[in-house]
Symmetry: C2
Subunit: 355 residues, 2 copies
């Protein structure tokens, strides 16, 4: 049997609940199909650890994680800890240190999900958003001078490297090429941001030459939001910077019905380091511990993890089970249903076992 | 009679057409009401000038403009000139040099405009977006090193000053206070951007103390897009950074029905320098010269200009005439009508004369 070692970081808030659901579904699919074995290494990295012991993670955690085949991540964020601390202690270092330079977020209106945009129906908004995930506006450089004075200045330095832009662009053209419409939209804001974002556009031009069968166009991020609302079917694969990808992928989730099903993979396509799979939603302390969280985003992330690990059959089954539970209205409140987290989880497991 | 000297910069593309419409409406309202006199100083600043003479503007243009009471701007952008050149030669220097630190963009679903978001109706999405307009991600600093090599690095430096953040925050709290719901949402991305955006949040906290009657909350820009789609009525006044304001205001225009009516004022609230009024849409070369552009955004911008100049009665009339033409379906194609730019203009003038 093929064996895969998964580092599991439930993290904070509802991250813990949806991770439990996900592991239940993963165990079910493994039992059903056989042929592979997942070992789960559950880690206590997170805000509770920070509050108790002063750090999110033990020393050497990145080297430790490096030995796993993939990382499943729940969520991070705690009302008692400023977000910029929790995120830079836990999720952002993994994306950057493991060179997970691709963040990939598919969006579509699934049957069973009420449409949010007038005139759209299930099957529409079939988008894949590819977000640069290691540099740009999240490079982490910047600082504050004359703190607290009237003349204080704070800066944020966005850093774009040709290498960094080229690799994400190539991945995006390849993704577009692999999809039926072979359509790519490159998003930037190069009219206002003349250095990093202009490099972005230039590299797109250059890389596009290697993919003559891909139809592509450029959009400014502001106009892009209008196009997503007004002409959703004109879009297919989308590639954009770290910050713009953050914004546009949330918008895509909002337009396609729910952030509760939006999932995300942070990939190192070179497979030098482990890739990371997580739901797009956060820790959501307001609904924590109430068995209200929608586990589907987390479970769908895990399906992508299975696919990444080469377990396509298992991935397909998990995805199918999730879709069927939604189509049958077996959903949590955010999707209009009345089930609890635990009930949705059992439904998905049940459906999976029948498939 | 009160007299106001308006610098008129039609600029490029449909900017020229919608400016012509606007001046016709302004002349009509002046004739109708009396008591004030507008003098229009039409300037040829723009891409045609650049292509013919090598520069967008004559020497000393900013000092020259400084003598006007307000600036009306059409649009800039030309297929033959890279956008980052045209914008940094014409529109961005005005915003920055004249310390027009407030960019204000109201959005609402007007009666007569088909709704884009399921469950919204005219009157919903009654938002005022206040965008910082002189610094932040548009500070203009940055550069490129090792250009063209594999190890090229390009940077964009976002600069936030306490002074700059405080003044926009205070304006936003005052705007919120002046509106019935007294509700303000402060948008940033301080979880990922720990310096400039954290300063933003801190200043919001501090300034909020001066406005105890304003209810306010903080949102991350990504989650904000979801809230705009899913809970539009929970929002009223919104304040955000230069780049986020650019993105969110386009999204607001998209959600409320059309970029063709979205208008924008770049204000220096200290009235040291002239303020600038412009439609949100760009030069749109694809429809240029076809009499297809929607002139309403430009005309509504001019209404705001009249208000800024103290001509509230005239401003109200122009706005009312625009709204009525929309409600009666006397619109261009983007709003579902079948009229030309020139016909919409005559309709607005006719309605105005009857009011
Ligand atoms: C938690 C936060 C740092 C993160 C981001 O901005 O990347 C989140 O919003 C996301 O999209 O994964
Ligand atoms: C033309 C461009 C520089 C401008 C901006 O990004 O500010 C435009 O999109 C706007 O919103 O006024």
């Amino acid at each position: 049997v093929r064996s895969h070692k998964i580092a599991v970081i439930p993290g904070d808030g509802i991250g813990i609940e949806v991770t439990a659901s996900t592991l239940a579904v993963l165990r079910a699919v493994q039992d059903k199909i056989g042929g592979f074995e997942l070992s789960f290494d559950e880690l206590d990295y997170g805000s509770a650890r920070y509050k108790a012991q002063g750090s999110y993670t033990p020393e050497g955690w990145l080297d430790y994680l490096r030995k796993s085949d993939a990382i499943f991540f729940g969520a991070v964020g705690d009302p008692d800890v400023p977000d910029h601390i929790s995120l830079w202690e836990l999720i952002l270092p993994m994306r950057q240190k493991f060179q997970q330079y691709i963040n990939i977020r598919p969006s579509s209106i699934l049957p069973g999900i009420p449409s949010r945009v007038v005139g759209t129906k299930p099957g529409d908004l079939d988008w894949v958003i590819i977000r640069e995930n290691t540099e740009g506006e999240y490079a982490g450089q910047g600082g504050r001078t004359h703190v607290g004075t009237e003349w204080e200045v704070a800066t944020e330095l966005a850093v774009f490297t040709r290498k960094g832009v080229e690799r994400v662009m190539r991945f995006a053209f390849e993704t577009a090429q692999s999809r039926p419409r072979k359509l790519l939209t490159v998003v930037s804001k190069s009219n206002a941001q003349r250095y990093g974002l202009l490099l972005w556009d230039e590299v797109a031009e250059q890389v596009s030459k290697e993919y003559p069968d891909v139809k592509w166009d450029k959009m400014l991020v502001d106009a892009m939001t209008v196009r997503m609302v007004a002409k959703p079917t004109s879009l297919d694969t989308i590639v954009t910077t770290n910050l713009h990808g953050d914004i546009l992928s949330d918008l895509a989730a909002g337009l396609s019905g729910s952030i509760g099903i939006a999932h995300s993979a942070s990939l190192d396509p070179t497979r030098t380091s482990p890739s990371l799979f997580e739901p797009v939603h956060g820790a959501a302390f307001d609904i924590m511990g109430k068995d209200l969280a929608n586990p589907i985003a987390a479970i769908m992330s895990a399906a992508e993890m299975l696919r990444w690990l080469g377990e396509a059959e298992a991935a397909d089954l998990v995805e199918k089970a999730c879709r069927q539970s939604i189509a049958e209205g077996k959903t949590t409140g955010d999707l209009g249903g009345s089930l609890k987290t635990s009930q949705v989880t059992s439904e998905v497991v049940d459906i999976l076992e029948q498939l």
